[in-house]
């Protein structure tokens, strides 16, 4: 293995250092620069869908606007995070997204910070708060490995849904609920049932052998046991009782 190469470059005039090929957004965030972003999460690969993290990069004398989440840094580049054009583009993007998720506190707050009180565009009701950032799809595929959700169709008909609208692969782990920036994926528990509302997935939960409380979907536990080749009785106890037992 070759040594990791460190490169120096500038962000808003400040000289910074990072590994060559590292993505620009996490480097900039690490250095304390504020770049708004919605479809980026450190746990999954960058995608560049929301377009909010746009910056201007000058390389070899040429300046272009590009998303920073999937831009690999290189020596000598000059990054400007808040030029007039960058802010102008971000404002329009936020206004467009606000019409998809007008009830999302996070989006409303971001929009306000950019001076947008209200979107001039009519609310897309069918979006039901989804901004199509794809974080749920990536976390389900890359981190969980369940591949239970996917992008469906194209253009303005695009949506995120279980393949063929059948959630049979969903283990109701809630990773998608956790990463969703607009909180449009909800998880509910009633009695011994857990439901991921958006995917219409309801699974029965397994009760703890010790305290009797249902703690995780049976389907999910079986799935993990199968994948990790654990013993069948690995998940007899809920996390609380397991800790006490130790």
């Amino acid at each position: 293995m070759s040594e990791k190469e460190l490169v120096k470059f500038q962000i808003d005039g400040l000289e910074v250092e990072a590994e060559k090929g590292q993505m620009l957004l996490p480097v900039a965030l690490e250095y304390g620069f504020e770049i708004p972003h919605l479809c980026y999460h450190e746990a999954v690969s960058p995608y560049g869908a929301c377009r909010l993290c746009l910056v201007e990069v000058t390389k070899g004398g040429r300046t272009k606007m590009t998303t920073s989440c999937n831009y690999p840094v290189d020596a000598g580049i000059e990054v400007a995070t808040a030029t007039e054009n960058v802010l102008r583009a971000r404002r329009m993007i936020l206004e467009l997204l606000l019409a998809r998720a007008p009830k999302s506190e996070h989006i409303v707050k971001m929009a306000k910070a950019m001076g947008i009180e209200e979107s001039r565009f009519s609310v897309i009701e069918e979006a039901d708060g989804c901004i199509l950032c794809g974080l749920c799809e990536r976390v389900c595929r890359e981190v969980v490995g369940a591949n239970a959700i996917t992008f469906v169709s194209r253009g303005d008909r695009r949506e995120v849904a279980p393949p063929f609208w059948d959630p049979l692969a969903c283990i109701a782990c809630g990773a998608c609920v956790y990463v969703c920036p607009t909180d449009c994926i909800k998880m509910e528990e009633h009695g011994d049932e857990r439901t991921i509302v958006r995917w219409k997935r309801t699974l029965k939960m397994q009760p703890c052998q010790s305290c009797g409380k249902p703690f995780a979907p049976q389907f999910q536990l079986d799935w993990i046991i199968d994948r990790a080749q654990l013993s069948k009785d690995f998940y007899e106890l809920c996390p609380v009782c397991r800790k006490q037992k130790k």
Binding site: A49, T66, T67, Y71, A89, L96, F121, L132, R154
Partner: protein, 615 residues
Amino acid sequence: MHLKSPEELEQLRTKILEERKAQEGKKGIVLCTGTGCRGAGALEVYEAFKKELGSKSAIDFKSTCCHGFCERGPITVVEPMGTFYQRVTPDDVPHIIAETVQKGQIIEDLLYQDPKTEQKIPTEKDIPFYKKQHRLVFGHNRLIDPTRIEDYVANGGYQALAKALFHLSPDEIIEEVKRAGLRGRGGGGFPAGRKWESCRRAPGDLRYVICNCDEGDPGAYMDRSLMEGNPHRVLEGMIIGAYAIGSREGYVYVRNEYPLAVENVGIAIEQAHKMGFLGQNILGSGFDFDVKISKGGGAFVAGESTALMASIEGYVAEPRAKHIHTVESGLWDKPTNLNNVETWANVPVIIEKGVDWYSKIGTEGSKGTKIFSLVGKINNTGLIEVPMGMTLREIVYDIGGGIPGGKRFKAVQTGGPSGGCIPEEMLDLPVDFDALTKAGSMMGSGGMIVMDESTCMVDVAKYFTHFLKDESCGKCTSCRDGTLRMYEILDAITKGKGKDGDIELLEEIGWATTEASLCALGGTAANPVLSTIRYFRDEYEAHIRDKRCPAGVCPDLITYTIDPEACIACMKCKKECPTKAITGEKKVPHEIIQAKCIKCGTCKEVCPVDAVKVE
């Protein structure tokens, strides 16, 4: 026959030519069964010829693909005189054989008549549509049965390949292509030679070449016709390119909605294999190269290079980030060189005829010719190939024959759905990559849609934006929601619900869509809106402020009335009106009941005395 050397290829060519020479003066019939002519009934004509000719083997009957003059299809050429017959029907077939083929007599009724001079023109080369063209790439379509490799070889086929493999080094070929000034015909206009060079220099030993035949613009069909009509030409270009780049494997990506192109290129690959132009040790040179076909599902965005590569890999056609160029990391992360059908088809001619000859054609920045599909409100619909730098005026009036019905030219939309509309005052614009971009449009893959005074430019912008909002992959917010919102605003404007500030808002969204989106689809998706605002702002204003559609197109903003003075009470409009909104009897002038009128325009179309007025 498997050819093992360039000498064997030359021997074969000589043999074919000698055989053909022996038959010189032989009577022959060439029928176009390309897609356009098929649409006009060429397959029925083909069957009629087959039936009529039967065993009369003295007559050479050949079916080719597109000759370009689709407006006049089905086209039949009778050799050796080259008599050009148009709009041929199965009923004409016995006459053509009896009169022209047997007796050498011309059937006047089937000839093309120049609408200006009213003269009947017996041969292709004298028809104005063809006269000003320079059919460098497309011209061979007429001579070649695409399913017969002998036809291609007889017309100099694979000669350039032999020259490239045995007389030029890969670097020399790249230098030739660079010096020739060949720019990508698929839309971007990127210098092909530079692309090849970058790909050749990229590290790694496995490289791919791809031919993009995913042409998806409404109304454009030049790549399709080239692939259908002369697939060996495209393959030859690819093999030369692969040799120059150092690639052993290539793909032809062709949309499945082009069944004839898929079929013909499949046949061509098989034949090229058998004859030793593909596979191992091509023509005994030691160079190996193979081509596979990858069929696309028809998404417009799949023509975008990175989306196309994703599609070949089996993923959804969605563009990828471009910080690392595909020439370094493309298909399966290997260095990949993608060019479109027409670009590849230009390569053999550059190698064969040489740079000096080739670079004399065209303008300073755009060399060679360009094939356009000339459609819309134009007399001569079809595929044309002209030297770069020809003016729009020459294309529209000299080749296209002007606007039908004596109407006035209004604009021409170039570059496909995300191109721009160029107005009348710019008709003298020389058509090349840079001039079109400067005018707010683009070359694109070569679509050219002509519009006349009866075209509403807001409606046009709405049509293309609708197409783009449907065909965006939907990934980038700016493209997906930008095109959607532009469409919504345009729709409202055409329905009389436009507001002050709409034009400015369209410009704002358009700017963001262009600047913030990842790929060329998003980067150009606002062109139809922005270029129509730029050149036809007054039309937008008329819709918004005066609730008026100056072209008389938008149903919510127009009223149809019948001038009682002009009306001859012929009952035609009354009979045709789908909602029975017209009153009047014989000798009683007609009148339209506005409450019932759906503004379909049928009455105006059928009125023999132009008494129906639109306001």
